[in-house]
Amino acid sequence: MTTETVAPVPTTSRARLFASLERITLVDVILWLLRAGILILVVVGTVATLIKGTYSLSHWFDFFMFGLTIGGVYALIALGYTMVYGILRLINFAHGDITMTGAFSAYFLARGLDRSGFMDAHPFLSTAAIMALSMGVCTVIALIVERICYRPFRHVATLAPLICAIGASFVLQHSFRGMFGSNVRSYPDPEWMKGTVDILGVTLPVVQPIVIGTAFAAMLFLYLIVQKTRMGTAMRAVSEDRDAAALMGIDANKVIIFTFILGACMAGIGGVLYCFVYKQIYFFTGFLPGIKAFSAAVLGGIGNIPGAMFGGLFLGVIESIGPPLFLDGLNIPAPYQMRDLIAFTLLVMVLVFRPQGLIGEALAKKRA
C-alpha cells in the first residue's frame, strides 16, 4: 500500500474558505438557488402587495386573527404528533384521522343538543359535553391504533410502523365513510356562536376568541401536566432515554399509553374547535389538517412541546396572511387556492433545510 501524503489542514481563515469552497457540489448550488428563489418570490410579492395597497390595516388584522384561530387548532393537533414522536420516534400518520373521528362524534351530539334546544340554553355545558365526547372517542381510537399498529413494532426500527400507520389512516377514513356515509355534514350554528363581540376595542367574530381561548387553555393545561405531574416527568424521561427511564423504575408501557391519551385528548379538543371554525365535516377532513399539523410540529422542532404550540400558531398565521401578502403581489389569480401550497412548501423547506425546526431540537438530527 502506497503511503499518500495527507493534505495539509488549512490554518488561515483564507485557506479554510478555499477548502470549503472546494467541497461544493452541484447539488449544493441547486439547493442554494432554491432557497434564494423562494426568498426572492416572497420578498418581491410582499413589496408588490404593500405598494398596491389593496389591503388596509384592519384587513391585515383580520387575517392575523384568523391565522391565530386556525393556528390554535393546528397547535393542538401538532401536540399529539410531537408527543408521540418524542416517546416512540414515530410519526403517527393516523393522528389527523383520529381528530376527524372525535369531530364526527362531536357533530352527532351537537346536532342532538341543538335540535332539542339544549345548546342554546346552556352553551357552556353543551360545549363541555361535546368536547368530553370528542376526547373520549379520540382516546379510544388512538389506543386501538396504538395496540394494533405500533406496539408490535416497538423494538423494530424499520419503515414498518410508518406503513402500518398509513394503512390505519385509510382504515379509519373509510370505515367512517362506511359507517356514516360520504355526505358533508354541517355543524350546527347556535345563536351564541353568531355575530361579533367587542374585546379590548376590537371587533371579532364570536368564534375566534372562543377558539383561541380554548386552545390556549388546553395548551396551558397540557404544559402544566407535562411539567408538574409525576406522569409528565416520566413522559419527559422516557422521551429522552427509554432504557435509562426503565432503570429508574418507569413502566414504559404505561407512559406510552398515557402519552397517546394526552395526544388524543388534545386532538379531540382540536377537532371540535375545527368544527367551530369551518363548520363542515366529512370523512376526509382529517387528512389535510393532519399534514399541516405535522408541518407545524416539525417547524417547532419535533419532540418539543412548546415548539409544537409555537409551530402551530406560526403556520396558521402564515397560511392566513401569506396568500394576500405575497401571492397577490405576484399577480397570481385566486391566491386562496394556493393556501395549501404555502403550507406544503413550508413543510418541505423545513424538512429539507432545517429538520430540527425553527426553535431547534436535537431529536431530528439524532434520527438522521
Binding site: L31, V156, V171, F180, Q337, L341, F344, T345, A368
Partner: protein, 576 residues
C-alpha cells in the same frame, strides 16, 4: 437479528389458559363481524349471490368467519382431548355470534339509522334470517355460530384424505360462484364450451346444480391427488434435474400463453381490468426501484405519473394547450424522458432527508405539484381543472388501438420491456448499490458508493416507469384531469408493493392482481376499495411483512432467521 425475527415471523410468546384462548378467539371474530356489519360491508356482500337462491357472499362471509373461530381453537391445540376441542370451537362460535347478535337486538328496539347509515333493513333481515320475530332470528344466528364453530374444528381434525378434498371442493365452488363474471364470458365465447356455461351458470350467477357439479369434480380430483401424491412425488424425484427443469419451464410457458390469450376471449370488461392492472404494475415496478431496492419511501410518486400523462397530452392532443400533434410513438419517449428529468430534479432537495421525514417531504412535493397543476395560475399552460381533452389513440401501421383489449396488449408489451429493464437493473452494480443504501446509507458511503448519483438515479429511473404508465393512461382515457393524480394513487402503489413483497418483481404482479384486479372484479370490494387497501397493508405488515411473493434475497434472509431460531430453541431446551 432478534429484530428481524420480530419483523419477519410471528413469534407467539403468550401462554393463556385454554378457555381463555377460546374466549379470545371468539371475541376477535366477533369484533371483526361487528366491524364488517357497522361499516356496511356485510349488507353489501349480501347483495351478491354465490349460488343463486341459496348462498350469498354475505352469508358466506359469516360462515367463513364462524368456521375460522373453530379453526383457530383447533390449531392452537388448546385442549388435549377431542370433545373439549369441539366444545371450545362451539363456544368460540357462540361468542362471536352473540356479539354480532347485539346489532339486530338493538335494531329491533331503536332505529339508529340517522347516525349509522349501515344499520338498515337489509342488514337486519340478513342477520335475523328474515324471521318476523327478532328472538327467533337471533337464536338462529347463535345456533349457526355454534354449529359452524364446531364444523371448523371438525375440518381441522379430519384426516387429510377427507379434509383436504373437502376444503378444496368448498373453496373451488366458492370461487367459481364468486368470480362468475370472470369465468362466464370465457365459457360463453366459443360454442365448444357453451354447454359448460349453461350447465353451471344462469343470468345472475351460479345455480345449485352447477355448484354441486363443481364441488363433486373438484373433490374427486383433489381426492385423487391426495391419494397418489406420495407416489407422484417419488416418481418426480426419479427424473433427472434437466428434465424436471424443462417440464417446469414448459408449464410456465403454457401458463404464460394462456394468460396472454385470455383477454382475447374474455371480452372488453376483463380487458379493461387487466389494462388497469398492467398500468399499476408498471408504476409498481418504478416505485419498487425506489422503495424496495433503494429504501427511499417516496409518497410523491404520482407526480411523475402526472408528468408523463400531461407531457403526452400536451404533445398529442387536439386542443389549444398542446404544443404539437405528434404521433404516440414519438410523444411517448419524450414524455418518459421528461418524467426522468423531473424525477432527478425532484430528488435533489430531498437527498439528505431520511426515513419517515423522507416520506412526508416527498408527500409534500407531490401535493405541491398537484396544487400547482390544479390552480388557476397555471391554467393557461396546463388547462387547470378543466383538463386536456381530445387525445387521440395510438396508431401503428394503420391499426388503431381503440379497444381495451388492444390497449391491454400495448400495456403488456410495455410491462414486459420495463420488467426486463427492472430485472437487469436489480442484479446490476447499480442495483446492488441501491440495496446497500437501503440497508445502511453511512456504511454504503464509507464503501465508496456515491450517494448523490445513486439516489438521483433511483428517483429518475423510477420516474421513467411512471412516465411510461402515465403516457399510456393519457391515450387510454383520451382526456386527463388534475383530479386523476391524487396522493391516493401513490399510496395505492405503495400498498401494491407491500402486499406483493418489497423489492420483488413477481411480487409487484401479485400485488397488482390482488389489489387492483380484485376490487374491479368484485364491485363490493370496489366500493370499499381503500378500506380494503388499508386493511391489507396493516394485515400484511403484521402477519407477513415480507409480502405474498418475497424476493429471493428476502426468502434467504427469512430461512436463515428460522434456522437460527431453531438452533436457539434447541440450545435452550438442551440447557433448560
Amino acid at each position: 437479528m432478534a429484530f428481524e425475527v420480530v419483523a419477519s415471523s410471528r413469534v407467539d410468546t403468550r401462554k393463556t389458559t385454554s378457555w381463555g384462548y377460546v374466549r379470545s378467539a371468539g371475541f376477535q371474530i366477533g369484533l371483526i363481524l361487528l366491524f364488517l356489519a357497522m361499516v356496511g360491508i356485510l349488507s353489501m356482500f349480501n347483495a351478491r349471490p354465490i349460488i343463486v337462491g341459496y348462498l350469498t357472499l354475505g352469508y358466506a362471509t359469516l360462515g367463513i368467519l364462524f368456521l375460522t373461530a373453530g379453526i383457530m381453537v383447533a390449531r392452537a391445540r388448546a385442549f388435549p382431548d377431542v370433545t373439549r376441542t369441539f366444545l371450545g370451537g362451539m363456544l368460540a362460535g357462540t361468542i362471536a355470534a352473540a356479539m354480532l347478535a347485539v346489532i339486530p337486538a338493538v335494531m329491533s328496539v331503536v332505529n339508529l339509522r340517522f347516525i349509522f347509515v349501515a344499520l338498515h333493513k337489509p342488514l337486519y333481515d340478513m342477520l335475523t334470517f328474515t324471521f318476523a320475530s327478532p328472538v327467533v332470528g337471533i337464536a338462529c344466528l347463535i345456533v349457526l355460530g355454534a354449529a359452524l364453530g364446531a364444523a371448523g374444528v371438525l375440518l381441522m381434525l379430519l384426516p387429510e384424505r377427507i379434509g383436504g378434498p373437502l376444503s378444496a371442493a368448498l373453496i373451488a365452488t366458492g370461487l367459481a360462484g364468486l368470480f362468475q363474471e370472470l369465468v362466464r364470458p370465457v365459457l360463453a365465447s366459443s360454442w365448444a364450451t357453451k354447454w359448460l356455461h349453461d350447465l353451471l351458470y344462469t343470468w345472475t350467477g351460479m345455480h345449485l346444480q352447477g355448484a354441486i357439479t363443481i364441488f363433486v369434480i373438484t373433490g374427486a380430483v383433489s381426492l385423487l391427488w391426495v391419494l397418489n401424491r406420495d407416489r407422484a412425488r417419488a416418481e418426480w424425484n426419479t427424473l433427472p434435474p434437466t428434465t424436471r427443469r424443462n417440464i417446469r419451464w414448459g408449464y410456465l410457458a403454457l401458463a404464460a400463453i394462456a394468460a396472454v390469450l385470455f383477454p382475447l376471449y374474455a371480452g372488453n370488461f376483463i380487458g379493461q381490468v387487466l389494462l388497469m392492472v398492467g398500468l399499476f404494475m408498471l408504476m409498481g415496478m418504478g416505485l419498487n426501484l425506489e422503495v424496495g431496492l433503494a429504501g427511499l419511501l417516496d409518497l410523491g410518486f404520482v407526480a411523475f405519473y402526472a408528468v408523463g400523462a400531461y407531457m403526452t397530452a400536451l404533445l398529442m392532443a387536439d386542443s389549444p394547450f398542446a404544443f404539437a400533434q405528434l404521433p404516440f410513438w414519438i410523444a411517448m419517449p419524450i414524455a418518459v424522458l421528461t418524467a426522468t428529468a423531473v424525477g432527478g430534479l425532484f430528488g435533489v432537495p430531498v437527498l439528505n432527508v431520511r426515513g419517515d421525514y423522507l416520506a412526508v417531504a416527498t408527500l409534500g412535493l407531490g401535493e405541491i405539484a398537484r396544487v400547482i397543476v390544479l390552480s388557476d395560475a397555471a391554467a393557461p399552460v396546463l388547462a387547470g381543472a378543466a383538463g386536456i381533452l381530445q387525445i387521440p389513440r395510438p396508431e401503428l401501421f394503420g391499426f388503431e388501438f381503440n379497444t381495451p383489449v388492444s390497449l391491454f396488449y400495448l400495456t403488456l408489451v410495455a410491462s414486459l420491456v420495463a420488467a426486463y429493464f427492472a430485472w437487469r437493473l436489480q442484479d446490476s452494480r447499480l442495483g446492488r448499490a441501491w440495496t446497500a443504501i437501503r440497508d445502511d446509507e453511512d456504511v454504503a458511503q464509507a464503501l465508496g458508493i456515491n450517494l448523490i448519483q445513486v439516489k438521483l438515479l433511483a428517483y429518475a429511473l423510477g420516474a421513467a416507469f411512471a412516465g411510461l404508465a402515465g403516457s399510456i393512461f393519457a391515450v387510454m382515457l383520451g382526456s386527463i384531469y388534475p383530479h386523476s393524480f391524487q396522493l391516493i394513487i401513490s399510496i395505492n402503489i405503495l400498498a401494491l408493493i407491500i402486499v406483493g413483497g418489497m423489492g420483488s418483481l413477481p411480487g409487484v404482479a401479485v400485488g397488482s392482481l390482488v389489489l387492483i384486479g380484485l376490487p374491479e372484479m368484485l364491485r363490493e370490494f370496489g366500493e370499499f376499495r381503500f378500506l380494503f387497501y388499508g386493511l391489507a397493508i396493516v394485515a400484511v405488515m403484521r402477519v407477513k411483512p415480507e409480502g405474498l411473493w418475497p424476493s429471493a434475497a428476502k426468502r434467504r434472509e427469512i430461512a436463515l432467521d428460522q434456522e437460527t431460531m431453531a438452533e436457539q430453541q434447541a440450545l435452550k431446551s438442551r440447557a433448560g
